[in-house]
Every structure is written in C-alpha cells, then in structure tokens.
C-alpha cells in the first residue's frame, strides 16, 4: 500500500531523515515509534504532501506520490499532532469547509458532518466557536476532518496525546473500528501501550534512521524472555529439585509458592514445561511466559542503537 525507499530530508544542514525505507501493508495498523525529534512528524508531513524531500521514492498504491500527489491525496486523511483551525468558525463550519475543499457533494456532506460530529463526540459543541475548544476537542475535530472523505489511508500523528484517559480509550476504540473496516493506518505515537493494543506492525525510528520494522507478533517472539513464572497451589517441596534435573532448565529461583524458571532453549521449554508440571502433585494456579512489553523492546533497541534494518 505504502512503500517508502531511501527517503532523505534535511533542514538546512541538519539531516533529519537519513534514507529511511519501509513498507506498510494494506489494511494494517503501522506503528511509527520514536523519541521526540526522531523524525516521525517530518516523515508524516512528507507522506501527506506537506513537506518536500531531497531524495528517495514514495509509492502509494503503486503510484509515484510526487507525480500523482493530488490524485493520491484524495485517498489520504491526516491528523496532525497539533491541529490548527480557523478558530472563528465552529466545528460544523470547519468540517463543511474541509469537505468543500475535498470536493464532497453538499447534501451528502451535511449528513456526513452530523454523523462525524456524533462519532467524535462533538455534536453538542458543534455550533460553538473552535476558539473555545479544549485541546482534546480540537484533536477530535481534526480526526473528523481527517476521515470526512472516508480515506483508505490514515496518517495519525499522536492522536491520543491531548486526550484524557476516557477520550484515549474512545480514540483507540475508533482506531480498532477503522482497522476493522479495512483502513490502512499509519500511527505515530509515543504511548506504547496504545501501539501495543492496535498495531499490527511497528517501526522504530531514531535520529532519522529506521532501527526496526517488524510485525508485532514476530517482535514479541524475538524479544521474548526465556523465563517462566509458575505459581503453585501449595508451598514448594520437591518441585524445585525435580525441575532442576531437567537438561533444558538453566536456573531456578524459588520463593514460597512461586518459581521463576529460566530455560536455555525457549522452544523446548515451551513444549516440555506443561508436561512436566502436569506430573507434579502440587497443582499449578498460575503459569506464564514472561513477555517483554513494547516499551521494554523500544528502550532496549534505542539504547543499543542497533540497526536491525
């Protein structure tokens, strides 16, 4: 759907994008993660035609973005991190203005606007001037402006950054709904829990370079820690001794009813552990493979500055 190859961008002498490349698959949610100043917003501004770039290629739906910009923008919606409006307008007027630029038919537009205002929870404030809106309300209005024309691709730059916890959950639910409807979403965020919840693939950018670009599921597998946390029904007796005798067990930490078991081969460990535990007299009440969160992976990768790609 979106193919970016060797994209470079500089502001005067400062090179902000140093030849980044990635692919975004159709219908997926692509998490674009990085620290402040890593180049996330610059990339998004380039992909939405707001900034020029020095070199590289962008293909959207197989078409060259530079040559078919006006045509391709029809299928793109953009929610900037800090959306700016004509504040003397109200939400209804602004959406009407954006709809008119987009070329939507007036009758359908009126209906769509009312529906959208309901979706983004601004129906009551629709006739109030935007100057009186909170940051969260502005962000919701910008989302409505981004999806007013039912785009196939959505670029969302920190869509939940200004929202309260309730608004954030609503935003995530909306993203999941858009994903369910087959939209391709390019999501820049520093709230890694959000990325974990909705993204199919994540790309970590650091100082204008892509450090990692992988499916979230593969990422968890790759960065999974070879540790099993097991809780038993009764106090531990012979369990530690039995488990220690197994060749694939590296080490054991035991405390009360809990064992933390490290293995030297996660695949064998996964296959064998349940068989062994089912043969014990002490019942297992809780069992889990210790997973790294996206936050752990992000910190690990950015600290190492490792170039996976």
């Amino acid at each position: 759907m979106i193919k970016v190859a060797d994209l470079k961008k500089s502001y005067q002498r400062l090179e902000v994008l140093k030849g980044i490349s990635f692919d975004v698959k159709k219908g997926s949610v692509f998490g674009f993660i990085g620290k402040n100043g890593a180049g996330k917003t610059t990339t998004m501004n380039i992909l939405t035609g707001l900034l020029r770039f020095e070199s590289g290629q962008i293909l959207i739906n197989g078409m060259d973005f530079l040559k078919n910009k006006i045509e391709l923008l029809k299928s793109i919606g953009y929610l900037p991190e800090n959306p700016v409006f004509y504040e003397y307008m109200n939400a209804y007027e602004y959406l009407n203005f954006i709809g008119e630029i987009t070329g939507l038919k007036t009758k359908k537009l009126n209906f769509d606007i009312l529906h959208l205002l309901k979706v983004v929870n601004l129906k009551i404030q629709a006739k109030r001037r935007i100057s009186g809106y909170s940051r969260g309300m502005k962000q919701r209005l910008a989302l409505a402006a981004a999806i007013i024309h039912e785009p196939d691709i959505l670029f969302l730059d920190e869509p939940a950054s200004a929202l309260d916890p309730e608004g954030r959950l609503e935003m995530l639910a909306l993203l999941e709904e858009l994903k369910r409807r087959g939209k391709t979403i390019f999501l820049s965020t520093h709230i890694l829990n959000d990325a974990e919840r909705v993204c199919d693939e994540v790309c970590i950018i650091e100082e204008g370079r892509i450090l990692l670009d992988e499916k979230l599921s593969d990422l968890y597998d790759k960065y999974i820690q070879p540790v099993f946390d097991i809780e038993f029904e009764k106090e531990l007796t012979v369990e530690t001794e039995i488990l220690n005798k197994l060749s694939w067990v590296e080490s054991i930490k035991a405390c009360g009813k809990i064992i933390n078991l490290s293995v030297n081969n996660i695949k064998i460990g996964r296959a064998e552990i349940l068989k062994v535990l089912s043969g014990l007299d002490n019942y297992v009440t809780s069992f889990q493979i210790r997973k790294s969160s996206l936050e752990d992976i992000f910190i690990n990768i950015t600290n190492q500055g490792r170039k996976v790609k």
């Binding site: 917003t41 501004n45 939405t48 035609g49 707001l50 900034l51 020029r52 006006i70 923008l73 029809k74 793109i76 919606g77 953009y78 900037p80 800090n82 959306p83 700016v84 409006f85 004509y86 003397y88 307008m89 007027e93 203005f97 954006i98 008119e100 630029i101 987009t102 070329g103 910008a142 402006a145 981004a146 024309h149």
Partner: protein, 255 residues
C-alpha cells in the same frame, strides 16, 4: 474551483468575524465622513485662537479642496489601515500552520490565492466607492463653488480602486514570502510611499501605478493617452504578483 469557493466563503466569514470589514470601513469611509465636517467646523473651532488672515484660509474652502483632502487622507492614512489589516493575509496562515489541514486535503493554491485576492479586491472597491460617494454627498451639501461633479468623483474613484488593486496584489505576494506579517507590511508601505516620489519625474511617472493617485487628484481631467501605459502596467503588475504568489504557494512547505 472548489478550493476557490471554500476559501472565498472562509475569507468572508473571517473578515466579518475578525472585524476586518469594520477596520477597513473605518480606514476608508470614516475619512469621507470626517474630512468635510472637520473642514467646515475648523474655522468655528479656531475662531477665537487664530488671527483673521490665517482664518480666512479655512473659510475659503470650496468643494474641490474638500474632495482633494479626502484623496490625500485615503492615500496617506487609508493605505496604512489597508496594509496593516491585510499584511498577514498569507504569512499568518503559513506561520500559524493553518494551511496544514487544507493542504493535506488537496487544497489547490491557485484557488486559495485567487479567492483571497478577489474577495479583498471587491471589499476594498466597495469601501472606496462608498467613501467617495459619501464624501461627495457631504462636500456638496457643506461647501460651495468648484468644478467637482459626480463624473469627476467616479473617475477618481476608479483610479483609486485600480491603485489599491495593485497594492493588494503586491501585499499578497510579499505576504507569501515572509512568515512574520510585519515584514511584508512595512515593505509594502515603503514601496507605496517611496514610489510616490516618482510622481515628480514626468519622464517615468506614467509607467508606475502611483501615477493613478496623481491623476485622481487632477480634477476635471479625464482619460488621456498618458494613462495608457499606467493602466497596462497596473494590470500587468496585478497579474504577475498573483501568478508569483500562486507559484510560491505551490512550492512552500506549509508544515
């Protein structure tokens, strides 16, 4: 066309709600009302404090003098109101990133630039026309003698409208070049007032738009061949400044 339509409506709303119509109305029509009244009342106000020989200068004012007073004020003060209220016409939109959402929705810069120009050209034309007619009504009622007629007023009005149309195009272009609104404002004012000096040079003055101002004050003299290059150059400047603004807005990074 859809970008033009959307931005034309937007400019209308903006000017009405941000009091730009009011500011421009004050800048133009206020002088048309105030000037004749002040000229009429000044001798009465100064009667006690001025010597008789000086006072006679104020009492011998005719319609032509009163009308020329408006022309002078519109050029000197009206231009200030006009330039300072519209100097951010593009620069403030770029610097405050107001164009991010419209550009991401495929806004055509030519539609936006033309909408801005045509909207304010119409607005200023209406205000200048209203100012000239108002002034003519008052001058005719308050003063006697002089050659002033409605034809002269309309001719001067036309020349002023054309002049302000050139200034608007220049302002639009300058505003697209800078992010701080004050810079295009000051540059345009420097050009407007600076170029007035060339009206003293008979060899080149009719090749510059400021000649329109000079001729507007030439009461009773209508069109002659010396105005042909002025008209052509004025229209050419309007077209070239609008064209350059469109080119600039097509290449600018709005984010």
């Amino acid at each position: 066309m859809r970008s033009f339509r959307a931005y034309f409506k937007k400019e209308f709303k903006e000017a009405a709600r941000n009091y730009k119509y009011l500011i421009l109305a004050v800048g133009f029509i206020f002088w048309a009302l105030l000037d004749p009244l002040m000229l009429k009342l000044l001798p009465l106000i100064l009667k006690a404090s001025l010597p008789v020989e000086l006072l006679s200068q104020f009492t011998n004012i005719n319609r032509d003098y009163a009308f020329l007073n408006l022309l002078k004020d519109l050029f000197q003060v009206g231009t200030l109101f006009f330039v300072f209220s519209l100097m951010g016409i593009i620069s403030s939109e770029v610097s405050k990133k107001k164009l991010v959402l419209p550009y991401s929705r495929g806004l055509k810069p030519e539609g936006m630039v033309l909408a801005k120009y045509i909207h304010y050209a119409i607005t200023v034309s209406i205000f200048i026309f209203a100012a000239f007619l108002t002034n003519y009504f008052y001058v005719k009622s308050l003063f006697n003698s002089g050659v002033l007629s409605i034809q002269i007023v309309l001719w001067s009005c036309f020349l002023y409208i054309l002049y302000f149309a050139v200034i608007l195009a220049l302002l639009l272009y300058m505003s697209s070049l800078f992010k701080k609104s004050i810079i295009p404002g000051l540059l345009v004012l420097a050009i407007v007032y600076g170029f007035n000096f060339f009206n003293q040079l008979s060899l080149i003055r009719n090749y510059l738009p400021n000649y329109l101002i000079l001729r507007a004050a030439d009461l009773g003299v209508f069109f002659d061949t010396s105005l042909i290059p002025t008209f052509f150059i004025s229209v050419f400047l309007i077209a070239i400044f609008i064209f350059l603004t469109i080119i600039r807005m097509k290449k600018i990074d709005v984010a």
